[in-house]
Symmetry: C2
Subunit: 587 residues, 2 copies
């Protein structure tokens, strides 16, 4: 039993409690298999959770999405489930505070711990003078550990990126100068991919490369397994940076003395941070490149828009296919998601899905993170809603779009709910706002119509979208949880309000918008949003009595654009179908 | 010349630069005459400005509202005007950084400097090792200085306050316990008045008492000129606090050792702060009582609502008077504001205006802080708008309300502007929002309609309102400038969007709202706003084509309430007039 072996090692190393979080050294949203230590130890395969082992206890914390799955998967491993957010279950921190003896020792692998979380833990344990030690107890035990992916790196051509890597590095250096820093250490994979214009296939759905980087005022370094670099790529990169091996980063950082180093402690792992010598001065902030890449340049925007047209064509063809099936109940959720993938694969430059497609029928759509699999899925029926949330990685952009498709008869409640989701969606689509407005404010303006219906969706209204990178990016974070990021021209983000009713249905209408300038006048500069994703919004689900004239006009205007953008790429049958299904509506 | 005398003293005391801000020791919004040192020195009587004197320079910084007035008033005093916000004029801080020599000395009266501003200044000057000294150069020169007001203190009866002072002190102590503090030092006059349930007439428009207070876990102290306390009041206060003389606060604070002291550094003056000995630990935060008093209790709300009905009656009578004048051009702005005061004085429990009435005709209303005086004012005309922003201090509450009244013919632009202001006003009036929403978000939701019109008003949407205290209170601050205060049940604040067009007109429609609970359901707790101020919104100025059905319904509903609340207190003529002028409108 793995648990016993870990406990033996803990005893040898005088560790009283060992923490195994869910993280890679780069703070990635999706983990490569190689880094899934918590899954190896506990058996639990969900995307979120933390394990804790002491002499007596073996506990796994995870959230409500995963209670049933986790109970099943941790059976026979010796672990007990700690239900996050449920009364009677202490949090991990509360548990540590209550149960650890003074002067005891907590172990963890500092490579899988963010510096900011580490500082919190340190503070928490300092009252009892509890020590934290960096210890890897898993590597020796995990004999069949999957290798780190070694997919081949390709250069993202300047015709897609608009800026060369040299130019991006120069931008980073300018920002470093402003805060009087000598260098910055990067370990966010999307940031590194964006700066160096490199992509690969190291993580499913996100075409990044496992690597570290350092940018000094005069020199840039990329820390990467050189086996991933074919000669031509290596040559190109060496024009503007020094290439070192992946693990060399630790020694490299340890060698700095008397430098001012800019770091995002919410992104850097504790081990790397701890290598920084005490003679250096640290400036904390968000990743410079995260801010830079949140403002898409003209070439990026042009390409991204093109990708959204291709993606819209796939979605329109898919919707036509669904709507024209004689008997949709022949198919299950998984099968239709595979069908959608077929349509995406027909599009030029498609690489892979940008996340696991959510194709959720009926009540399943009320579970916000539901994913059907080949083994577990529901059969469709010719009534109610099918929610399809999907996206693609294309060579010229990353897409994300959700439509809730009518499969047959609807209840009055389903129609009203759909219409209120649409009202909130249109509130954001048609917004005009003063420069300086933040994402938290846009979130509230979007929610206002659905709040009048006395409903609140427990997710953000939207998230930034990467460019052949992660489908979730920040800034912006259009959410009640945002501390407030200014919404700037060139940002793109999702507009995805929804209504989720357990046991009944789930409805979400998601488009992607770009922030553009509206007018400048004596009041200042006004901005607005241009929706760049195109697919029909199902008219069969709208109760027009709940829409006002401005909302109807906005919907009709959007649908006219959908037809213009997509019809050239559709068959005649599809085009005719589309024409009917995006027809102008009136009250 | 005062300036030369100050320079002589500066020389004697080796002071290279002397700063004279606009502040009293309590951070009050309106200053008692006794504290207007900047006015005494520079001649400039505006409400905002900072003077700086060096051997060569004598400068006065103030903002755009006051450029013309200040130029006039400082003529012949030796001061030059520094126009804040205008290119080419350095800020005070920039000026100091550029012009002061290393190791020089800056003087200021630390009683008139907030600790937070002092810390900023200290930081700014530390690079050049410039010293700051506490020095009062004005008192000896100002021979005819007005005495500190010694108005008589009265107890605000529990039938108005709902809570005894003992209970309020207990609430403060509970909050102190939560942050493990032994005591808090208070120098905000509204906070002290609220906690001790005392009021007086030390400051125009705001019935507070010049005083300091300290609340320890076992004892409370009030520092006040005892001449202000008649025997019965003193006896009542001594039941729960020790009374000391006003100036004793400094020695009292200096005597604390090894204590944990809770302080708002944005409110305490530098001199008082500097008395705190180094053995004490300081916990910084907003005034505990500011948070407590922002949530009005049931008795306060009931009284406050009653005050708003009386205030509405005065406003309705006034509007009737205006509207039924045969020739309104007989009157000027000042005369109508005096007329309004007459109507307020007829109301039971009226004490004084809560601020200087803004009665602004035509283009004058575009100046947001315009006040007509007996000497300087404009004559009304029988066309366009008269904006009247006014309020009262009543024994049972503080009021604030604005109406823009039609005096005759309007342009199409005036009507559309009025209607857009109304749209934004109604957006906030009818809002439903989830618990947890903040004031900055409400501000954006209110602005959304007026932003669509490509206009932005350069003021907040609203401010908290005191209870027989300052007409401006925070929290909440419904503004783009707010960092975000949660909007809570029991708060009351103003809803006052506007449109201001230089040389043309100014329009503002202001009501006061209370935050109340709406429904609790699976989504959480929803809150909404109940408008508690009542006066007709001028139907003659509305272009109904710009309103949607929900907006019209909301306006009609509000007007029906206006009639219900006010009509019992009006004459028959007034009642008939009101009925016609709040009639239901339709498209």
């Amino acid at each position: 039993m793995i648990l016993n072996k870990i406990r033996e090692m803990m005893k040898e190393q005088n560790i009283n409690a060992y923490i195994i979080p869910t993280l890679d050294p780069h703070g990635s949203e999706y983990l490569p298999e190689h880094f899934k230590e918590r899954k190896f130890v506990t058996g639990f395969s969900g995307s979120q959770g933390t394990a804790l082992i002491t002499e007596e206890a073996a506990l796994l914390w995870t959230d409500g999405r995963y209670f049933i799955q986790a109970e099943k998967e941790i059976k026979d491993t010796g672990f007990s489930l700690m239900k996050m957010g449920i009364e009677g279950y202490p949090t991990l921190n509360e548990w540590l505070q209550e149960n650890l003896a003074p002067n005891s020792t907590v172990g963890l692998n500092a490579k899988y711990y963010l510096q900011s979380n580490y500082e919190e833990l340190e503070k928490l344990l300092s009252d009892k003078k509890i020590k934290i030690v960096d210890s890897d107890l898993i590597s020796d035990l995990w004999t069949d550990r999957p290798a780190l992916s070694n997919s081949e790196v390709f250069l993202h051509d300047i015709k897609y990126t608009g800026l060369s890597s040299e130019e991006k590095i120069e931008q980073v250096r300018e920002e470093l100068s402003k805060v009087k820093a000598d260098l910055t250490i990067l370990n966010g994979l999307d940031d590194i991919a964006w700066i160096f214009n490199i992509r690969a296939n190291d993580i499913k759905n996100t075409p990044v490369v496992i690597s570290y980087a350092v940018i000094e005022q005069e020199q840039a370094y990329l820390f990467i397994d050189s086996a991933k670099l074919k000669e031509s790529v290596k040559k190109e990169l060496e024009k503007f940076c020094a290439i070192k091996s992946y693990d060399e980063i630790f020694d490299h950082v340890a060698n700095y003395t008397d430098k001012t180093i800019y770091i995002n402690v919410n992104r850097i792992n504790r081990k790397l941070y701890s290598e920084i010598g005490p003679s250096n001065r640290i400036v904390r902030g968000k990743d410079i490149s995260s801010k830079l890449k949140s403002i898409k340049n003209k070439v990026e925007l042009e390409n991204q828009k093109n990708a959204y047209i291709k993606d819209g064509v796939a979605l329109a063809k898919f919707t036509y296919w669904i709507k024209t099936q004689e008997d949709i109940s022949k198919y299950n959720e998984y099968e239709v998601s595979e069908k959608l993938l077929e349509f995406r694969k027909m599009q030029e430059g498609f690489i892979e899905p940008s996340f696991d497609t959510i194709a959720a029928y009926g009540p399943n759509a009320a579970m916000m993170h539901y994913t059907a699999t080949e083994k577990e899925n529901a059969q469709l029926q010719s009534r109610g809603f099918l929610l399809v949330d999907s996206g693609g990685q294309y060579i010229d952009g990353t897409t994300d779009i959700t439509r809730t498709i009518v499969l047959g008869e609807l209840t009055e409640e389903e129609k009203i709910d759909f219409t209120y989701v649409l009202k909130s969606h249109l509130a954001l689509m048609g917004i005009v706002f003063l420069k300086g407005t933040d994402d938290r404010q846009l979130d509230a303006i979007t929610r206002a119509p659905i709040w009048k219906y006395r409903y609140d969706y427990k997710s953000g209204t939207g998230h930034g979208v990467g460019y052949l990178l992660g489908v979730h990016e920040t800034p912006p974070t259009v959410s009640m949880k945002s501390a407030g990021n200014e919404v700037k021209v060139g940002m793109i983000f999702s507009n995805e309000p929804g209504i989720y009713k357990e046991g009944k249905h789930g409805i979400r209408t998601e488009n992607i918008v770009e922030v553009i300038e509206d007018v400048k006048n004596e009041s200042g500069t006004f901005l607005k949003l241009n929706t760049i994703s195109y697919a029909p919004i199902d008219l069969e689900a709208i109760d027009v009595n709940y829409l006002d004239e401005d909302e109807i006009a906005l919907l009709n205007e959007y649908h006219a654009k959908v037809y213009d953008k997509l019809s050239p790429y559709l068959s005649e049958d599809e085009r005719e179908w589309l024409k009917t299904n995006i027809r102008k509506i009136t009250r």
